[in-house]
Symmetry: C2
Subunit: 617 residues, 2 copies
Amino acid sequence: MNQYPILDRVNSPQDVKSLNRKELKELCVEIRKFLVEQVSKTGGHLASNLGVVELTIALHRVFDTPWDSIIWDVGHQCYTHKIITGRKDQFDTLRQPGGLGGFPKPEESPHDAFIAGHSSTSISAAYAISRANQMRGSNSHAIAVIGDGAFTGGMAYEALNNAGRSRTNLIIVLNHNAMSISRNVGAFARYLTTIRLQPGYLRLKDHTETVLDHIPLVGKPVKRVVQSSKAALKNALYHSTFFEEMGFTYIGPVDGHDLKALEKAFVQAKILCRPVFVHVETTKGKGYEFAEKNPLIYHGISKFDVETGNPDLPEEDSFSVVFGNYLTELADHDDKICAITAAMKQGTGLTPFCSKHRNRFFDVGIAEQHAVTFAAGLASKEYIPVFAVYSTFLQRAYDQILHDAAIERLHVVLAVDRAGLVGDDGETHQGVYDIAYLTSIPGVTVYSPTTNEELKAQLYKAIYETEGVVAIRYPRGCDKKIYRSQNPSADYLFLDERGKNLAISYGRIFHDLYAVNQKGHFGALLKLNKINPLSDELVEKISAYHDIIFFEEVEQNGSIGEHLLLQLNQLGWRGSFRSVSLPNGFFKQGKVPQMLKEYRLDQEGMAEILREEWETK
Amino acid sequence: MNQYPILDRVNSPQDVKSLNRKELKELCVEIRKFLVEQVSKTGGHLASNLGVVELTIALHRVFDTPWDSIIWDVGHQCYTHKIITGRKDQFDTLRQPGGLGGFPKPEESPHDAFIAGHSSTSISAAYAISRANQMRGSNSHAIAVIGDGAFTGGMAYEALNNAGRSRTNLIIVLNHNAMSISRNVGAFARYLTTIRLQPGYLRLKDHTETVLDHIPLVGKPVKRVVQSSKAALKNALYHSTFFEEMGFTYIGPVDGHDLKALEKAFVQAKILCRPVFVHVETTKGKGYEFAEKNPLIYHGISKFDVETGNPDLPEEDSFSVVFGNYLTELADHDDKICAITAAMKQGTGLTPFCSKHRNRFFDVGIAEQHAVTFAAGLASKEYIPVFAVYSTFLQRAYDQILHDAAIERLHVVLAVDRAGLVGDDGETHQGVYDIAYLTSIPGVTVYSPTTNEELKAQLYKAIYETEGVVAIRYPRGCDKKIYRSQNPSADYLFLDERGKNLAISYGRIFHDLYAVNQKGHFGALLKLNKINPLSDELVEKISAYHDIIFFEEVEQNGSIGEHLLLQLNQLGWRGSFRSVSLPNGFFKQGKVPQMLKEYRLDQEGMAEILREEWETK
């Protein structure tokens, strides 16, 4: 590929170490071209990766993986790292089934020290690795690369609190991204701003507004944050003490696009042999302009994607959008309704709510634990909090749901988005465990809509007609509109009651079971809308059937089918029961339709199973 | 009661507001007498409560519950609060079945604003309440009272990060306890020390050691901490900025035993009408000396209890102690074994390990999330981390177990203590959900010993013969020594194989099932040692039986019996299955034997059930 004369020569970290300054500069340009070209074909996280090209190269020039360990927080900014560590030829398979992962994966390469996907874990992992190195007498370094958004996650502080006292070779690289300030809530973001405006960095000291105008790419967001607290700016002139007080040596701020400055800072950090905090400033989407100038070549990358860096925006008609719009509508007429997000406002469809009801909208940062307990606190004062959160991220708040909300039966509504298989993001993002953990918490009601009407009806019921903790879980994507709602408010529906065979399902795949039933009637059909708890009355009705097949897009352990079988058993039922679910396991990246097919949860698979079970009888 | 002339007149917060200074001083003495007298009879947390007598009285003199809300973090220091708010006459039922709770309980009194039990939740809850107040236009205050130990929990930072920007009537009272410094790990503890040594507080500035010697009750612990970082002490002379940078107005430090000073600080905080951080310094066990001088009257309170404040120390022969000693022994011969605790070193039996293998012992503070990811990081470098943690507290690390350890099958050992019903601490501490959440995570192996020999054998297997995440769960207390181990390393044992009836159990209650079987043979008896996953081979053997009864001391949803029934069903098994477990619910404080009896999980109940099921056939 003549486009990439320097990149062609880079197949391992050793290769970047041997390039000269001119070649390195060219390499940065080539990598950006490569990233834009690849991601425009496969999809993926573009902006965050464009922001860390120099940072990644500098790390590999100063450190030596896999002897040293680089741990990427969240991990979607690992593309340049993967390119450098011998995986550039796999980029056409990025996020594809069986292909290169979009996140670090130790099983892929020894250069990937630790798994990533969820936020704020890198310092814990890096500190542990630095401790292990210390215990075995190795001089290797552990480097955590973490964005400022991830610092809103409490785990990061738990780790900092432990790491700062140690004398290990631990380096924390704070990837401070100017563009994410508007989305990073809270005091810490403001604090970071104060660190940026250190004496050596400021050109003018007199007027706040003028100073801010002179900081490239900062402009409006920072201005809004800082104006709300003049005191913070005063502190900007002080020596920043937070990280030192936590026990780290502080180096920075460093221009994250100046390769030479980065290398110098990392060398300084490396020789210190004690915990160091390197504060790097990058610009998300840096270097994108050339792609903007070549739209025909680089089609498919919308400017919007580059600005937010989020490739996972909900489609127009998706459940997330339907949810967000309807919640906003309900909130128009009821000022007790509040919405909470953990840094996923757009992804969960809450942008309209935030616009219309700003004083009742709470973005708590990447802090699911706090989000749930905060919701419980609002509920204790008769507000109606709705926390919209991805199934996989809600895992982090298990204790808070149980302890802070459920014991006192506080009325907290959980809108669990991305429930079920998610596809491209792989093992770290699948939403197939929430049924197990939610149904393990006493008193939690769980709804699972199949259609838009059901989503709205169930949201209404969750808010106005259900006590205690209520969850509504729905998948990524849209209403398939095969099944059209009949009585969307009902807890369950027998759509067909003839015979002794009963097929049961809920959620997205009910469309498919319904389609199968329309084509060739196999037996009675039960649709669950409220999936937990199943009332005694319903279980009695189910027990009238002799052969039951339960299809669900969730892991087997803790599934609704598993609970139902025991309940039927307790009634003395002795019929035939078959649970068709996902196996207990982790699910690699893939396309959801193919994955459902693999587990016979698509129309073909279901039809086959129904025939297997019932045509032989 | 002539002993309590002032206390007799206190039946509501209004009553403390009307006392004069002399009476208030006397009240403090009487409350301490009362606490020592009561807790020596019922048991409970004495030292922490002795430390906050003045603090609590001051809060009730300045604020007005329930219009204002006081939220106690962890909550076991709420006794004076309960005395003042009309519950002193119930103290003889403290922590007894059906009696006064040892933690705040909204259902008990409107003066208890929020549930407590787990750490670091108070700021989230208080901030939410302050937001709710603001939204409804109320001037009420929300006050979180949180100890410095709880600041090691990441949730507290998530909350601070959100709360600091707000303009709500939120007050955070940091109850900074000098005696807990030696146990609070990390940079934050050291930082708090620096705040204490402010200019107005220091008498000498020249020599570190001399200064420290002059600070009452600080002495050795602080000296050890500060000497490890001279830089921190220098900062002591600066104005502390951390809390202000987080957006709070800082007031303090305030002498936590000077009622007048406390009231003044709280009044200042109250009129500010914006987030305030009041730094209060207390001494745990303050005022205990008079009890020491009257040992005949106040028998039952050991000085050790007062010093540590921990009434839950493991008995000499408990599973915790057996575990800790054996782990230490294994670690004597294998320097890869590491032990981790989240601020529960004594409770989990790890004191010997800490003494012998200090460099491989990690107390991470109240930070279970970090503990698990830290363990995963150690495992990624071939160390063998054993995290000893209470079942109820491990709930907080659900996401980390799944995401950071299990996906990559990192070899992390979880020693899950206080599994099963715990008794006096009530709903917030029961360990009956871990089976559901652990078995919902793919690849997790779970062992459950009944005897000391099995605990050791299973710990050995977990460390040396099992891959991936392994949990061993055992209850509070000791080996009941009814059943004596036969083949403690086996995954399961058929102790009796005759007939078509099979009773199954595991863990602590297996002693009882065994005893019942000894007295009158009811059928075959299966003991599970490894309870998850159940091998295909075992399930096949079980399927040879026609009538099965499964006894387990765990919640029904997600139970082993529930999983087994589905597995049997998948083999085409059509026998009779009865699961005898705890219902899905929360369990109030009580005595464990009585609770087991209530759910028929004691010998009598089991025998009855076996007769019911099998004698009629």
